[in-house]
């Protein structure tokens, strides 16, 4: 990062300081302080709503919790800012941690419900627990920010304190959201099913995002109370949540500039739209709706994007051979796998062994349970019964991201690639999260081996289908797995592309990787597979050398629809 990149930020800072100390009236200064408060709130919300992609309706509640914590501690216990701020942050984060367990496993609509219920619960408590909170009237007489005897009075001192903390919040947000983690979040958000298959622990990411959003919310609430000098149930009301959501959508969901734009704009907007009077909030709603419909990425998307650091991959100086990609030789042993969906038995007592260095092809009619087998082995859809061992280690009950870290990775029937991420980011994220050891190939090695060096900085969404398949394979092998599962790797490819994928697989297997590949295309499988398995109705119909299996009368009847 060069000094040049900081010029816009420094310029914006100077203009802000100049305005705050010269032209701004005391009312303008109040608005500035409020904007700073909302910058912190929105930065936090970007973690859970923007990066994790979960609609939390509790961000206003963390704000309110921080507000009440500061209000009560400062007005009743006379604690100074250096104690009240950390305590307010801690209380908000603690609250988030308490509800995180039930809430974070939930799917979108239940997550929204649970966070909304939490918000209503806190509001009820604030209104009805009069002894602590002052009830509907709240608590007045909150002292100004006081740090070691110095008091930040309203006006410029308060603006300075708020924006200093907002500055720290921005730095923290940037440090937390480094490009690698940004990419991991994008993958978990946009391809939730596939993310764990590359070692991404989406639950942990969400947990972290939820805690950070709460901590930022708590800090914002604390500062809000010092700005207003009273704390009332309004700080916990749905209004704060709506304001925060609108600022985030209008400014931008994932960029720090978005938080700044959204907070500054929407704090000052009521002044500019005074003529609307009571209908001002209607206009707010209309603005929110319009943004989602026409500019879902927010106003920050119209700023120049932060420059990507990468160009085309620097080709590794050594020749890249398949050897480096095969993990320690290991046997995958699955025994008695059962999986039923309602009345349909997708896996019906299936057993299978896959040894280091061999390619096993799986064929079978649609609905035979092939994809369910891949999902079961990779832990994405845990089997109802049966055991799976990888190199003698039981993996049946491991979470999919742990199975990936244990050395079993896979590709998907429909490539699961977040369209906005660059190829290199996707590969690098998999390398980090799937627990690649130091001796694993570098990202550049993997790109070169899969013939992707020229496309390293292309967004995955711009690649043609054939290349996406290669990105998927590259992502699966970069962590040096022992076992690789390919779900229809040749589907939709030209004959030439199929041959390339076939050569790639053979080289990996010769280097010691165990490969299970599902495909309909017998012409693709036959030349590369050491053994063929034909599945039907969740069971193995025939297995053995390819010619034998293809000649088997039962296979011919079930799969090719021929009479024996």
């Amino acid at each position: 990062m060069t000094l040049r990149n900081h010029i816009p930020a420094a310029a914006a800072c100077s203009v802000l300081i100049f305005y705050a100390t010269t032209f701004a009236s005391s009312y303008d200064q109040r608005l500035l302080a409020l904007s700073g408060v909302y910058v912190i709130l929105v930065l936090g919300y970007q973690f859970i709503f923007g990066h994790a992609g979960a609609l939390s309706l509790a961000q206003g509640s963390f704000f309110g919790a921080g507000a009440y914590a500061t209000g009560i501690l400062a007005s009743r216990w006379d604690l100074g800012f250096l104690s009240t701020l950390p305590l307010s942050i801690a209380i908000a984060a603690l609250l988030a941690a308490l509800v995180a367990a039930p809430v974070l496993r939930l799917r979108t609509h239940y997550f929204a419900l649970a966070t909304l219920a939490l918000a209503q619960l806190l509001l009820l408590a604030a209104v009805n627990w009069e002894g602590l909170t002052g009830g509907a009237n709240g608590l007045s007489g909150v002292p100004p920010v006081s740090i070691l005897g110095w008091q930040a009075q309203r006006g410029f001192p308060l603006v300075a304190v708020v924006w200093a903390i907002a500055g720290v919040a921005m730095l923290l947000a940037r440090q937390q959201m480094n490009p690698a983690r940004r990419a991991a979040f994008a993958i978990a958000r946009e391809t939730p099913l596939a993310a764990p298959a590359f070692g991404i622990d989406a639950g942990l990411l969400r947990f972290r995002a939820f805690l950070i959003s709460a901590a930022f919310g708590g800090a914002a609430g604390a500062l809000f109370v010092h700005t207003n000098r009273v704390v009332s149930p309004e700080t916990l009301g749905f209004g704060v949540m709506v304001t925060c959501l609108t600022m985030t959508v209008v400014g931008g969901r994932t960029r720090i500039a978005g938080a700044l734009i959204g907070a500054l704009l929407l704090t000052h907007m009521p002044e500019w739209l005074r003529g609307l009077e009571a209908y001002y909030l209607v206009a707010m709603g209309a603005l929110l709706l319009t943004m989602v419909l026409f500019a879902p990425d927010g106003l920050a998307a119209f700023l120049p994007a932060p420059k990507s650091q990468s160009g085309p991959a620097a080709l590794p100086e050594h020749a890249v051979s398949a050897t480096g990609f095969a993990g320690p030789p290991a046997t995958l042993d699955a025994s008695g796998l059962h999986k039923a969906f309602g009345g349909i038995r997708a896996l019906d007592g299936l057993s299978l062994t896959l040894a280091s260095g061999e390619i096993v092809g799986v064929i079978g009619p649609n609905g035979a349970g092939k994809t369910t087998l891949a999902n079961a082995l990779s832990g994405i859809v845990p089997p109802d019964a049966g055991t799976m061992h990888l190199a003698g280690r039981m993996i049946s009950y491991l979470a999919p991201h742990d199975i990936a870290r244990a050395g079993l990775t896979r590709t998907f029937q429909a490539p699961q690639l977040p369209s906005a991420l660059e190829v290199r980011e996707i590969i690098a994220t998999a390398r980090t999260h799937a627990g690649a050891q130091a001796n694993a190939p570098t990202v550049e090695d993997a790109l070169a081996f899969c013939g992707l060096a020229d496309m390293a900085s292309a967004p995955a969404g711009t690649l043609p289908h054939g290349l996406r398949r290669r990105v998927e394979i590259c992502r699966a092998i970069v962590s040096r797995p022992s076992v690789l599962i390919l779900d229809e790797p040749a589907a939709g490819l030209t004959l030439e592309e199929q041959a390339e994928i076939g050569t790639l697989c053979r080289a990996l297997a010769d280097a010691g990787m165990a490969i299970l590949t599902i495909d309909h295309n017998v012409d693709f499988l036959k030349p590369i597979a050491d053994r063929l398995v034909c599945m039907a109705e969740g069971r193995i119909l025939a297995y053995g050398n390819p010619d034998g299996v293809l000649a088997d009368p039962a296979v011919r009847a079930a799969y090719f629809g021929m009479d024996a």
Partner: protein, 294 residues
């Protein structure tokens, strides 16, 4: 008997909640998205009743029930607008987008009503009349009985529509498998918009039913959507019958605890229960029928 009286009150409240919840599920099934403005459409129905009642001659007392067709019609139009503005343009985006657009619509409705009618709670005329009668020593209010009867008739009509008519079959087909329904020539857009119209009409009717005894104010939407949402989680995501049953359960829970303790305690207990339910069963009380394909 105080218990009988409480039970009738709970049933009336539950019947109105059931209309809200059933309307919510109608939209949910057609779109697989949550209409967050649904609570505000209940409020809008209540205010539509208040506004229409003010147009009636003040000297003769008119039963509120004659406002029902008008409220249903206005609400259906509102539902069409919500579907066309806040759902159709972004139907292919992730579900979070629909949450946000419908939250936006909710803000517009709530604040529009607040600006137009003021923040004070308003009351719509009673459905057939005030007062009550003695039954087994308990005083049963006419309004409560009228609410129960109206809601029951509307839900029965919906059940008939869904089970016995061609349109209803199309509705159910779209709910089960929209892709397949479309492949069979069902116009998904038309069905989706009708679901919004029908679902919102039910919400509006609930607004009329609630607006006499419980009053209506512009800021009620948030709590109402929460109740509908909880009813659906209790009754099983996507199940109409479950939603109605869940709504009744919530009302009994609320009225019962409020009678022993207080209204805030009842509400708090309800929210804590929901969080506990989601803790124990993150997939909802009865799980979800659809499965994801990797």
């Amino acid at each position: 008997m105080i218990a009988t009286q409480l039970l009738v009150n709970a049933a009336a409240l539950g019947a109105a909640y059931a209309l809200v919840a059933v309307g919510f599920v109608l939209v949910l099934n057609a779109t697989t998205a949550v209409n967050f403005a649904h609570g505000e459409t209940v409020v809008a129905g209540g205010f539509a009743a208040v506004a229409m009642a003010s147009l009636l001659p003040p000297d003769i007392s008119v039963p509120g029930l004659i406002l029902l067709p008008g409220v249903l019609a206005v609400s259906a139009l509102l539902g069409l607008a919500i579907g066309a503005l806040a759902y159709l343009p972004i139907r292919n985006q992730p579900p979070v987008s629909v949450f946000v657009t419908t939250i936006a619509v909710g803000i517009i409705i709530a604040n529009g009503l607040n600006a137009g009618f003021g923040a004070a709670p308003r009351s719509a005329p009673p459905l057939i009349g005030t007062g009550g009668f003695e039954f087994l020593g308990a005083t049963i209010s006419r309004q409560s009985l009228a609410i129960i009867a109206t809601a029951a008739i509307l839900i029965a009509a919906l059940a008939w529509l869904l089970q016995r008519t061609q349109l209803g079959r199309q509705f159910r087909a779209c709910a089960q498998d929209p892709e397949m329904a479309r492949a069979l020539g069902i116009q998904l857009t038309r069905i989706t918009l009708m679901a919004f119209a029908l679902g919102t009409a039910f919400a509006g009717a609930a607004g009329l039913l609630l607006a006499h005894q419980f009053f209506v104010s512009a800021s009620d939407g948030g709590v109402l959507i929460l109740k509908a949402y909880i009813a659906v989680v209790i009754g099983g995501w996507g199940s109409l019958r479950g939603a109605a049953a869940g709504a009744l359960l919530i009302a009994i829970f609320e009225v019962g605890i409020a009678a022993i303790a207080s209204q805030p305690v009842a509400e708090g207990a309800l929210y804590i229960t929901v969080l506990l339910v989601l803790f124990v069963r993150p997939q909802g009380l009865f799980g979800e029928p659809q499965q994801v394909r990797a």
